[in-house]
Structure formats: C-alpha cells, structure tokens
Symmetry: C2
Subunit: 645 residues, 2 copies
C-alpha cells in the first residue's frame, strides 16, 4: 500500500485550527505532536491511558476501536488519537480537555495562595537560622561625569571606575545585556543610573546584570524566580529579592505530559532523535515562557527584571530542563549525568528571564531522589533536628527521607501519580473544583463534600486528599471491603462501563463537567497500590535501621496531595503508620519552598548541598523484604491488622 | 494615493527566487533588505554610489532615472534599487554583481596565503618574546571506573573527581555543551575520555568545554579562530592551538556593506528600529557562519571543535559584533560603549563555534582607533622598540601610530576605502584578478601589469597597490598632471561617460569582466584625497610632538592595500614621506595577526591591553593645522615640492 500522505485538519476547541500533512504510517497522535498540536497522552501513546480522545468529523482512519471508548462515543466519532492512522484526508475535533495541561495555568497574587500559612512558617524558620537576604543581587546608584571631548572615556570604563570607587571591588564585569543597555541608561538618566549587580560569592568581583536610568529605577525592585518542575505540574513564585516577599504565584501543567505521565515514558521519548530537545523545549517554551509572561503581567514587571532563578525538580526533570541526556537514568546501573550543576547561564538554558541571570539547581543524590527532595529536606528543616523525622513527599511517585542531625536516609517508591489525581478516572490536582475532603453518612451513604474554590464552586474531580477521604469513608461505612471491592448493594454504587462497579460521588447534573464524578474499583485499586507503596517503603526503611515506627518523632507531609489531607483517614486506609495525629504536619510544596530559600540566600544554597552530601540512598528494589511488604500493604488498611489497631 | 501593496519577485542570478509583499512607500532596496535579499549598496541607499543596480523585467515603478545608469542601460530596464518604488507588482532581476560581497568568500590552506612570509616573521618574534602556547586551552585524558549499582556516582561527579586528582585543581566547572555530551563520551569510549578544558588565568579552577570518547580524540587537535572584522572585509585564520600553526585562512566581504561602505552610514542604519540587530546578524549570520562553515569543511573539523576566539576590528565593527549600540560613536563627543570587554561567551554572541568558547576582543582606545590598531601595534612590535616607528594601517580609512617604548601616539584620518579599492570605479581587494603592480612605458604609454593569481589570470580590477603604481606611473609619464587631470592627447586616454577622461588599463577583450578596466579622473581624485589624508596626518602628528620626518626610524605599513605595494611609487605620489626606501616594511594584515597572537597567548592578550593603556589619541580635526596640511597634500606629490625633492 505504501506511504500515502493526507491533509489533516485539527479543529481545536478554544484555539486556532491547524492543518498539516499526515502520513498513512503515523498515528494521529504523532501527526499532532509533529504539528505542535498538543494532546495530553499520559501513557505516551501506547493506548493504555485513554486520555488522547479526539472526534473524527470526516474522513477514513485505520485502527482498532479502543476499550477506552464506549460504543456510544465511538458512534459519535470519538477515537483515541494514538490508535488511529489516516486513510484519507481527515477533519478532527480536539476538545479542550485533550489539552488539559495547557488550561491548567493559574496565576495568583501570593496573598491568595492556599499554602501561604505553611510558607510563612518556613520564612520565619529561615530568618531565625540566618538564611535570608544574602542572594548577592544588589542595586547600586552611580553618578558619573558627563563625557566631553576632553573626557572621552567610554561608557563602560566610566561606570567601572565609579563602581570600583564606590564598592571597593577589585573587578567589574558586565553582562552582554547590561553592556548593550548601558549607553541608553546613562543618557536617559542624565548620567545618573542604577545598576543591578551580582556579587560573586567567593571573590572580590561583581557582574553588572542591568543598567537603568535613575528615574526608572525607583519603581523597579529586584526580582527572582523560584521554580518547582514537577513531573505533572510546574509551579513558580516570583519573589522580591530586596524584601524576600513572594509577589506572585503561578502553576501550570508540565507540557511534557504528552510524551507520558511518568518519567519513564518521557525518558524513552528523549532517547529518540530530537527527543531530548522536544522535552527540553516543552519545559522552557511551553511551561516557563507562558508562566513567566503571565506572572510578569500580573506583577507589572518585565522578564528582564528577573535577575536570579532557583530550580528544584526530580533528577529527570532537572536533566531535561538542562538539556542533559536522561536515558541512562532508566538503564541499570541508573546513572544520571550529574548530581550537582554549576550556576548555569539563564541565557544558555533559554530561560525567559534576564539573560545575565544565573539559574541554580537543587542537587540530586540519585536517579530517583532529586533536587525536589534535597530542597524539601532543607525546607522541612529535619536536617537540623535532634529528633528523628520522617519526610514524605507525595507528588508523582513518593519519596521518603528519615533521620535528623545524625543521619539522613532516603528512598523512592513507584507510587505513581495517584496522589496528584493521576491514573484516577476523575482525578485532578488540588485546584479549584477539586473535592478535597469528604465524609459519608453511614446510613444514607450520601457524601458531604468540601470543594476547593468555596461557595458556589461545582465539583470537577477528586484531588489526592479527597481520594483519601472518600476511600477512607467508603471503607469505614462498609461500602467497599478490605480489597477495595464494592458491596454491590450500595446506594450510590453502579456498574461501570468496564464491568466493574463505581460509587457516584457527584451526579452529572451537579458537576462542573456535566458527567458523573465517580470512583471506580480500578481507581481504588490504583490508589491502594500507591498508598501501599508508601507504607511499605516506610516499613522497609525503618527495618533497615532496625527501628520501630514509634521511633518517628514527627512526620512531615509535603507535595501535591493538597493541604486538605485528613491524617486520620490516611491512617485508616493504611497509608501512614498508626502514630498520634499530632505528630503529622502538612508543609506544602517543599520543592518550591526549598527553591525559594535557595533563591533568596546563598547560605541556603550551601546548606541544601550539604544536606545532599549527608543523605544516603536506600534502593528499595534491592532490599529483600520490600516486595513482601508491598503486597501486604495492598489491603485496607493492611493484611496485618494489628499494625492499625 | 495612500499606501498600496504589491507582490515583488526577485529573480536572483545564481540563487533561488524570492517573493515578498512590497509597499508603494518603500524603495526596492528597502523591500529587498526586509526580505533578506542582499544587494550591495555601499552608500547606504542614498543614490550616490550607483552600485545597487537591478533590472526591471516587468511592472511599473516610480522614481527618477539615476545619473549612474546610462540611457542604453535604462532602456534595457536597469535601475538603481534605492531610487525606485513599486507602482505595480514587479518582477526584478538581480545580477550576481549586486551581491558582490557574498561571492567574495575565499578559503585557502594557510600554506597558500600570500602574506605567509610576513606571518612567519611575526611568529618568530612572538616566540622570541615568549608569547606562545599559553592560551589556557588544554586536552586531558581521563579514565574512570565503570559505574555499578554499588558505585552509582553521576557521570559529572565521577569525572570531576578524576580531574581534581589528576590536575590538582580546586574547582571544575562544566560548560552546558560538555555536560550534555559527557554521558555519550564516557560510554562510547569505554569510560576513557578526552576532555578539552580551559584553565582560568587567575584562579585555580578549570572549565570543561568538551568531552570526547578516547577513540575519537586522537584525530581531534584543538582549534581556535582569529578574526579580523574589517569594514570592507572579514578575514579569519583557523589555528591549531596545540602547535600554534595556522591551518586554514578565509575571507569574505563584510555583509554589512549593503547598509553602507563606511561606518557612518552603518551607524545611521543601526540607530533605526531593529537596525543594530540587522548589523549584528550581518556579521554573525552572514559573515562568520558561512566562513566558519567553509573553513571547517576545508580543515575537516566541526565548528564545535573551535574552543577559543580572538577578534580584532575597529571600534564600530567591534560594537556591532557584540551588539552594543554604536550611535554615540558618531555624535559629539563621540563616546563608545566600551573600550575593553570581558571575555565574552561565544554562545551569547551567537558565534558559530563551541558554545563554551570565550571570545576575546582587542581593546579600542577611542571611537576611531579600535582593536584593529591596538592588535596591529602589538603585532608590529613597535611598542617594544627603543627607536621611533610609524605604524600605518591602510584599510577602510587610515590609522597611524607613532612612537616606541617611551610613548605611543595614535590618530585616525578619513581616507575612505580607496586603499582597498573602494570608491574606485574598477577598484577591488588584493585578491585573484587584481592588478597589484604596474609600469607604463613613457613612449608607447602601454602598461605592463602584474596580476594576482599569476599565469593566465585575467585582470578584473585594481587593488590599492596597483592604484598607487598606476597613478605614480601616469604622473611620471606626464599622462596626468599634478592635479590628477589627464593630458587629453594621451594614447590610451578616452572620454568617459560622465564627461571627464579616463585611462584604459585593460581593454574589454582582455579583461576578466568583459568591460574596459579604466581609471578615471574621479577615481584619481578620490585616491589623491585618500593619500593626502594619510600624508597630512603624518605631518600633523609629527608637528604635534615637534619632530621632523627624519625622526622616523621605521615605517610599518599594514592593511588591505596588498603586499605588492611599491614604496617608491607611494613616495612619488606624496603618500608617504620621502625617507629611504629601506625604512619601509610591509607587514600584512596586522589586525588579523594581532588577533592570532591573542588567540594563542594570554600573555599577548595582556600585552595588547597594555599597549592600549599606553596609547594616546590625537584628534586631527581639533588640530588647527590639519585642514591646511590636507589641502596642501591633495596634489601630486604635494604643493610644497621641496618635501619630495
């Protein structure tokens, strides 16, 4: 039959149409990728996740019908983009939901951020320990004599002399950006200007990053950007470097999700020709650029006024942001290209900020314990405690750190993205519309819900904390059993389209999506495996140092699970050990708060690196008891009920 | 009438056609510039040079006929692109000659370079003075243990430890480029690899610029690039940094020429919206990129194997290469943005070499004495002499330096581009086809010519040294008088199309161009003003230190005038003072050889900067006697004949 080519028209809900040539040998998903048409495909296009739904408006395709598409939907033209290839010219409709990560951008004044309280606590701790105000970015006012035929020194040499005189430094460098701006700043400010400079930490030299006429500089505070590059979500904080105050917060879906929901699928994509560049640009061009644009508009500044960047992310995300090959992370013996990087040039990284800015990355300690965790351990302050703490980061996958001043031991478990609503049919992140808490009346089996966004907000899905509550309540009320299977007599229990059962949390008429919000046995099974991975990791780590769970003085819970987490329910379902509830503390997105600390303090950068140096890594898969522990933990709450009595 | 838009089709000789929308308000030259269609326009588009000839194939235009276009040519459709605006859709033919600078690229194995002898002398001097082999770029072989589950350090940390152990340095940085390559280099070389690194001059740290598997590294010598960015011509030398040997030489026209032949027109263009970027990209994208591509193909290396760059150019060219605004250079009090720059990132400059490479620029000392002169003064070694030397750089314009160990005084004169064949109807650079020497038989008035390229090469035009010879011989034979006007009875003297007279050097039948090669009174007048500018500058400089011309012990002649220069003729026409011929030395393109010295030696970089620090600048225009001296020098040889008796 050969390779025919066709015209493929994508009609994109809420966007401009895109037309591209497609070949009979490639899937519609691949054609879309090539054309820059974004379709969420968490599984990376292997047909398992069922998210890349598109509607065939006209034309012929080849490919089998997916089990993820009901007969009714199929009759209306719905298909999975990864499962069909063109057999004629095509007209396709792409619903906004297929581009979910793009619509997930939220930008808020920091005072409206849900985690503000946890963040304010962090700032108080940082201040108490002296991690504050030493980021090395400064503003200096300089006045120079006006040049004349008799005094014809060049602009740079003129300003350099004034700086050396004023600051007593031995050397002055100019970034290319500052050099290019310098003559206008001098002349527009009547030879009075404000220079933004970076002091080198270890030497007596400075680098000028920007030059502004004095008039303009009064309303120009120095800004920095803290970034958390999560596998699912990219979050950032714009920070006033002079006061340390967060100004604006923003987050959006990680655009890499169309290459896979998990790091493994993305690493596989990165190893294809041009793949690493695609993944790198998905971060810089599709996440950082739009988020920074929005954050700057909200804050009323230009991206060039961002003079320092600190980034935390897991090892793979850090590699892709830097453009370093990630492929050896997934091949035994699982070796990253780097644990630590030098301060890197924002311009070289193509980060959309002042080109002279440096980007600092939180260090990794292994392929599966990254900068998000070292930054988080610093932000949790457990490294500085005489007592023993357990730090649990529930993002996409789960990472744990146990210890204190004496030792720090870390491990990573393959919990998957369930805590962030991933791989759950009605799952979503802890943002507006998410059901973040739930109780169920044992008699009526009716749920009472708490929805993020407050009064009048309709439920759109379930975030991690909501899932814990619902599963906990379904179990408490006997609507599901210890294996997570439904009592089919349940009042809101229905048969789902795949032959299993599900509980209707919100009826279609009351939901934001117009569909029932349900939790199915498949969802519950996914979640039980996620919580089982966490619990068994805790057990294995304690066993490796021969300690009982009572040795844990405090548990710090971090990550995208949401501040609504009900620890009682989490213990009830066997996710956390049965310790007094007052020992548990939810401390928010510590990857981002650690990046914030690095952004505002060079001393904090040093300390994060020291935390990394002192952390050991426990490889769970090579630990003999881990698999048994995991299997035992895949019940509600556990096969060994005595652990939760 | 308003602003109408039309479709403008450019048919380009030897190139692909280009179609673009043009407006009735813009000249065809401006439309071409916008479309990226290159048309030489040395005057910058003000109608004076007559070089932007295009042929109208179909369509209507508005605009008066140029005096530069003959009736016959006009009837065939020839127009000046700068003088016409579209009044309908147009079809235009663009001859290769309109893109002359693009066809001027020449790349040669260095052993074939005409100036090799002068260059070999320079290398011997550099070696004698210890300016050799200290560029700080090194190759180091490292072998590391293969990683395993038990020894899971990251690639970077593994190699860093080996480097610290081997070299005893305190810090190791990796360029982004090296970091991205590192894992492949390690695994493709069986964990044996060769690292290219730069030692910081002042500290105990190194930066890794490249990582290569050991197998590949044996045929990979380290290369650097010396660049002379001239107003008319960009020249470069690819150098083996391990031996100091030049490998390949290349030169091409400066693509900025379409914005003007002289720096003033280009500065005016640079101040327009987007102009500075156009001028910067004309250097990086249109000169450096094609030249480096050609030079690398010839040498059999990749551009990423160029690890260090040294650049010399006049102040304006340096500003444009760096992307710094040049507009204040031409406005009183004529202040550049910088005299010296830090070592700049090749990646930030968009130079087509290893992105971790640094580019070093020779320092300027004023708006009109640039890095080409400080590099040249170093290469001439006059700064190191107990005797007094005169250094004369005859490029586009002329710059002079007088002095020795005790003092160095510099000045610049507006000689224009005549020494490089500019503003001369049949002028050209000293490359193949150029008439570089000439004698005329007084009886027959027939010329004997020496043409660059040797046996069988047909004459294409006149380079600077050829012009000196022909004007000298025409004067000696009485074919022109002291004012440069022809004896109309001369045997080869004809009336030219502008009403003046001209001498036919080569008849159309024998020339490479198929047209007569002539020298006209306008040409001679241009040349006399150029030589007068040089001679009067020498006189004024000597007068300012109250010295006679006999105080000059040596005269070093540098620049694009060509190695064929006949000093006897140059004295005869009153270009140089009447000193014994053995005091004159032609030393080639010293801007390039100074850049070569900086490329191969950090000590040389320091010395060039010291030369710059010790040079004073004499502003001729503010010197009372200069204008009188200039007027007096605009004769053959001079109004004061006693100076040449």
């Amino acid at each position: 039959m050969g390779n025919s080519n066709y015209t493929i028209n994508f009609k994109i809900e809420g966007g401009d149409p895109v037309s591209v040539t497609g070949y009979s040998t490639e899937s519609v998903l691949d054609i879309a990728k090539r054309a820059g048409v974004v379709i969420d495909a968490p599984c990376g296009g292997n047909g398992t996740c069922g998210k890349c739904r598109i509607k065939l408006l006209s034309g012929e395709v080849l490919g089998e019908q997916s089990a993820h598409i009901t007969e009714l939907d199929a009759s209306e033209g719905w298909r999975l983009a990864c499962g069909i290839k063109p057999a004629s010219n095509l007209e396709l409709f792409l619903p906004a939901s297929a581009q979910a990560f793009q619509s997930r951008i939220r930008v808020t004044d920091f005072s409206g951020v849900r985690e503000k309280a946890a963040f304010d606590d962090l700032r108080a701790s940082l201040k108490a320990l002296g991690f504050e105000g030493d980021c090395g970015i400064e503003k200096v006012s300089v006045e120079v004599s006006e040049p004349s035929l008799e005094d014809a020194a060049a602009d740079r040499e003129r300003v350099e002399a004034a700086l050396v005189g004023k600051l007593g430094v031995s050397g002055v460098k100019f970034s290319l950006f500052a050099l290019r701006r310098l003559p206008y700043a001098l002349r527009n400010g009547g030879f009075k200007l404000t220079l933004v400079l970076r002091r080198d930490a270890d030497s007596d030299t400075i680098t000028v990053l920007d030059a502004l006429p004095e008039d303009a500089s009064s309303n120009c505070p120095l800004h920095g950007l803290a970034i958390d590059i999560g596998t699912t979500t990219v979050s950032m904080l714009l920070v006033n470097l002079e006061t340390g105050d967060p100004v604006t917060a923003a987050s959006g879906g990680n655009a890499q999700i169309r290459y896979g929901a998990d790091v493994i699928n993305r690493i596989i994509e990165s190893a294809k020709p041009g793949g690493l560049e695609r993944l790198r640009k998905a971060i810089t061009n599709e996440c950082l650029t739009p988020l920074v644009r929005r954050i700057c508009v909200t804050a009323g500044i230009e991206p060039e006024q961002i003079y320092r960047v600190a980034v935390a992310g897991n090892t793979t995300m850090t590699h892709f942001a830097v453009g370093a090959p990630g492929e050896f992370i997934r091949l035994e013996p699982y070796i990253p290209v780097f644990f630590k990087t030098d301060a890197l040039s924002a311009h070289a990284l193509e980060f959309p900020v002042n080109p002279g800015a440096q980007a600092l990355f939180a260090p990794s300690i292994g392929s599966y314990v990254g900068g998000d965790i070292t930054a988080g351990v610093f932000a949790s302050m457990i490294y500085d405690k005489d007592t023993l703490s357990l730090f649990v980061d529930l993002g996409t996958n789960g990472e744990l750190v146990f210890g204190g001043k004496e030792f720090l031991m870390s491990c990573a478990c393959s919990a998957g993205p369930a805590f962030e609503g991933g791989e759950i049919s009605c799952g979503m992140r802890a943002t507006n519309g998410a059901i973040e808490a739930c109780s169920i009346d044992k008699g009526t089996e009716e749920p009472s819900l708490s929805i993020i966004g407050g009064e009048g907000e309709k439920a759109a899905g379930l975030c991690g904390s909501g899932l814990i509550d619902i599963i906990g309540e379904l179990f408490r009320c006997g609507i599901i059993n210890a294996k997570g299977k439904f009592n089919v007599e349940g009042k809101r229990v229905v048969k789902d389209e795949y032959g299993g059962h599900a509980y209707i949390v919100v009826h279609a008429a009351d939901s934001a999506t117009g569909s029932d919000i349900m939790i199915s046995e498949v969802d519950i099974d996914n979640f039980i495996r996620a919580k089982g991975a966490i619990f068994s990791a805790i057990r294995t780590m304690l066993a490796s140092v021969d300690m009982p769970q009572e040795a844990i003085d405090d548990v710090y819970v971090a990550g995208g699970i949401g501040s609504g987490i009900d620890i009682g329910h989490a213990i009830l379902i066997g996710m956390f050990p049965n310790l007094p509830i007052e020992k548990f503390h939810y401390i928010g997105n510590t990857s981002l708060s650690g990046a914030y600390a690095m952004l505002t303090s060079n001393k904090a950068v040093k300390q994060v690196n020291e935390c990394a140096n002192s952390m050991t890594y426990l490889e769970l898969s090579s630990h003999p008891s881990y698999m048994d522990e995991f299997v035992a933990a895949c019940f509600l709450p556990h096969t060994d009920a005595s652990l939760f009595s």
